[in-house]
């Protein structure tokens, strides 16, 4: 991984649905596909379980980027969950953009259980984008900082 700024390491929270994307991340691991350690994955049953509150909380606690990964449209284990995620996140991301959290800091991606390669390349790309943007200072709760 080529870092643009060696000092700055972004904090990235990745929400992965249990059925497709978490399995895709596992596959990336099994195939030893490298992606930056800045990415920390939280397992959720479905992308529709991701409450906008979680994303706000992440930014509040100092995250520099949040990515949500779900099954491809039409492939959701719960039939329709990823459609809800898509609608909610479209709204939330544009609201965050309005608040000053750049659109590039938030992302929604479809990664299937067979797409380990896509998972790794998505993460590489996302970390690179967020690193270039630098530290996120909006929404951050300064009281949380030590």
């Amino acid at each position: 991984m080529q870092m643009v700024n060696k000092e700055f390491k972004p904090k990235i929270v990745a929400f992965c649905c249990n059925w497709c994307s978490y399995a895709g991340a596992d596959l990336a691991g099994t195939n030893r596909l490298q992606y930056p350690a800045e990415v920390k994955i939280i397992r959720v049953p479905c992308s529709c379980r991701v409450n906008p509150m979680f994303i706000l909380r992440a930014f509040q606690r100092g995250a520099d980027g949040v990515i949500i990964c779900g099954c491809h449209p039409g492939d959701c284990h719960y039939t329709t969950g990823n459609y809800y995620a898509r609608r909610r996140m479209t709204l939330l991301f544009s609201m965050l953009d309005f608040l000053g959290i750049e659109k590039e800091r938030t992302r929604l991606e479809w990664v299937s259980a067979a797409e380990g390669q896509k998972f790794a390349s998505t993460m590489n790309d996302f970390v690179k984008t967020v690193t270039e943007l630098g530290e996120n200072k909006r929404l951050e709760d300064l009281r949380c900082k030590k």
Binding site: A28, I41, C46, F54, H77, A114
Partner: protein
């Protein structure tokens, strides 16, 4: 405050090589609530599990964090361990430090730091875990097999053998699938029909097996143990209960120019037809696209000749509803379309055929009665070229990247059969590699070369040119001799790649079963759970999971049946306790959750509450835990925060977010 135990696994060197496991265990020991933190070589081994059990008992632990491989791998194992020590199995969380850390990071410092953070997140989550108890639901003791090829037939027969009822849904008028079209089968050269048709008859005669031929699955609801399936029975315009399969109508039908799909369009059939003599069920079907009566209302010959009055031109599609405990997918494969490979002149010359077409040409029940003749002029071919890997192992985007697995062997078989029957015919096989792993497979291939004198040429064919005199010039490079070849042939046979049947993709969506990028169904684990889909209650049989020959298909089909029998033998199934629940005190009865629930698990009722000393009746949501599958859509839709999900609660995920962001 929970009393938490942390157990860090080395996984041999899988984790320990890139993560300083001792440092992880040491760092996590100082987290709030952690009373014991240990590391061990293999946590999943018996000794490792004993270590966890003992630690739980000795330290009166209330929560356990295992830092190891993916929870998709060993969550169930460790839940059992924890339960064996008297803890609730849902008081366990796993930090995935193998797939998400040691296998993807090379820098030990970085990896160790990340492992510690993931461990902290799991500890933060387990602090908020609550004991959960799974509900139980009854198992419907009946299985559905989708697809009636050799895979579906074998699975159905094995399930029926164990005493359970099985229904087969087949989209074609007869069961039997691709194997019915084959002539001989490798490596023993026994005739496909001789070994398959008795199995088809067994299916028809078994009172536990019901065949829905000419039918498709149109809707699937429910979950493992309790699927609710709607089967569309397509109108065949013939009463199945009356038709005796005498075949008189198929002889008298005046519409003679319908391409016969059973012979791959190499000859014609009538508009009313029985695919082949040994069809099961042996019932005539009217092809609505070609029937003059159905199109213009003028004809009716078949109904006049039918002695039992089975013809019914007014028949409509009907729908059947059935309940099943398990669903087996056996949708099989098809050769790819060759329109992108016109360098081989498939569309230009009738004498360029696919291997499946050759099977029909060589089959005694085929268009030429088993005599191998060129399709164009019905003459005996003297030189035949086989071209391997047409569309297989292609990275150019035109074809498939995978190896179709069966082509090397069936080409050796074809070459051998042709040389045996017509010793004057020269046979050339153009190949990239010859792949013949399997019992007696390589011996078979060597016999083709050594005993039958088949000419194997390593090198790909660039072009096939149809000549004015009716021959075909095959332009190829012979890589071993470093020569360019211009070979004049009478017949060219293409080993087309195989791909999943096109019904598989919409079916996967209905079943919410996952597929790979080639539309093959994915298995729950490539090595340890090869016949199950990751979706509970969905099983995979045959080539729908990947290219397979017949021996492999049959063994997978039987393995699949064993898994289904294991499921159906249970009276009840433990459900998933990670379901939604509503806090009635917070619920304002807005119905937002009900609208997003894909399962209809949420209902509303009026309940009385004491508020400020007064009894107030309010409309509140409640979740049926037996129906809820735990997706969590409702928890986000709820504006008042009344809905929450067991195992993935708002506070638990928030705690994980906090732990991850805190570093």
């Amino acid at each position: 405050m929970q009393r938490i135990g942390v157990f860090v696994c080395h996984c041999g060197t899988n984790i320990a090589a890139t993560v300083d496991v001792k440092a992880v265990a040491e760092a996590l020991r100082h987290e709030p609530g952690v009373v014991v933190s240990e590391e061990y070589q293999y946590m999943c081994s018996e000794a490792g599990q004993e270590l966890i059990k003992n630690a739980i008992k000795e330290n009166a632990l209330t929560g356990v964090v295992v830092c190891s491989c993916s929870p998709r791998m060993h969550e169930a194992t460790f839940r059992k361990t924890v339960a064996a020590a008297g803890l609730n199995p849902y008081m366990l969380e796993i930090a995935n430090i193998r797939e998400q850390v040691s296998w993807i990071h090379k820098n030990i410092e970085e990896a160790t730091e990340k492992a510690i953070i993931l461990g902290r997140a799991a500890i933060a989550k387990v602090h908020l875990n609550a004991p959960l108890t799974a509900g139980e639901s009854p198992v419907v003791k009946r299985a559905l097999v989708i697809g009636g090829g050799i895979a579906g037939i074998q699975t159905a027969l094995d399930i029926a053998e164990a005493g359970f009822e099985v229904d087969i849904v087949e989209k074609n008028p007869t069961i039997g699938g691709k194997m019915t079209q084959l002539d001989k089968t490798f490596p023993t050269l026994d005739c496909a029909a001789c070994i398959l048709t008795p199995k088809m008859v067994d299916c028809a005669q078994n009172d536990k097996i019901k065949i829905y031929s000419y039918s498709e699955v149109s809707e699937v609801k429910g979950f493992v143990g309790n699927f609710d399936v709607t089967i569309k029975r397509k109108a065949r315009y013939v009463d199945e209960n009356k038709c005796t399969g005498c075949g008189l109508c198929t002889e008298k039908c005046p519409q003679k120019k319908v391409p016969n799909e059973f012979n791959l369009g190499l000859d014609n059939r009538r508009a009313i037809y029985i695919p082949f003599a040994q069809a099961v069920p042996k019932i005539a079907t009217i092809d609505a696209d070609y029937c003059t009566m159905l199109k213009s209302g003028k004809c009716g010959v078949c109904s006049k000749v039918c002695t039992v009055g089975a013809i019914d031109y007014k028949q409509q599609d009907t729908y059947v509803n059935e309940k099943y405990g398990a669903i087996v997918v056996a949708t099989g494969f098809n050769p790819i379309k060759l329109d992108k490979y016109d360098e081989f002149a498939y569309s230009q010359s009738a004498d360029v055929i696919t291997s499946l077409e050759l099977e029909r040409l060589m089959n005694a029940a085929g268009p030429n009665g088993g005599t191998l003749l060129r399709p164009s002029d019905k003459k005996h071919p003297h030189r035949i070229a086989f071209i391997q890997c047409v569309g297989s192992r292609c990275d150019d985007g035109k074809g498939k990247s995978y190896c179709s697995k069966i082509c090397c062997m069936y080409t050796a078989k074809h070459a051998m059969l042709i040389r045996e029957k017509y010793p004057d015919t020269e046979v050339y096989v153009f190949y990239i590699d010859v792949r013949t792993p399997g019992k007696n497979f390589d011996e078979f291939y060597r016999r083709a070369v050594e005993e039958y004198g088949v000419n194997y040429v390593k090198g790909m064919v660039g072009k096939v040119l149809p000549e004015p005199d009716g021959t075909l010039t095959v332009r190829a490079s012979d890589l071993l001799n470093g020569q360019q070849l211009n070979l004049s042939c009478d017949l060219v046979v293409l080993a087309a790649a195989i791909e999943p049947d096109n019904s598989a993709r919409p079916l996967a969506t209905m079943l919410t079963a996952s597929m790979d990028t080639n539309d093959f169904f994915t298995e729950a684990h490539p090595k340890l759970r090869p016949v199950e889909s990751p979706t509970a209650g969905i099983f995979l049989s045959g080539a729908c999971q990947g290219p397979k020959d017949i021996p492999e298909t049959v063994s997978q089909a039987s393995a699949c049946a064993a898994k289904v029998i294991g499921l159906l033998a249970k009276n009840t199934l433990k459900g998933n306790p990670c379901v939604a629940h509503s806090n009635e005190l917070l619920c304002n009865g807005c119905s937002s959750c009900e609208k997003v629930c894909p399962y209809g698990a949420i209902s509303y009722s009026d309940k009385e509450f004491r508020i400020n000393g007064k009894m107030v009746t309010r409309r509140v949501a409640s979740v049926n835990p037996a129906v809820c599958q735990g997706c969590g859509a409702c928890t986000v839709a709820c504006p008042s925060g009344a809905m929450d999900l067991n195992g993935f609660s708002n506070s638990q995920i928030m705690a994980e977010v906090d732990a991850i962001c805190k570093w």
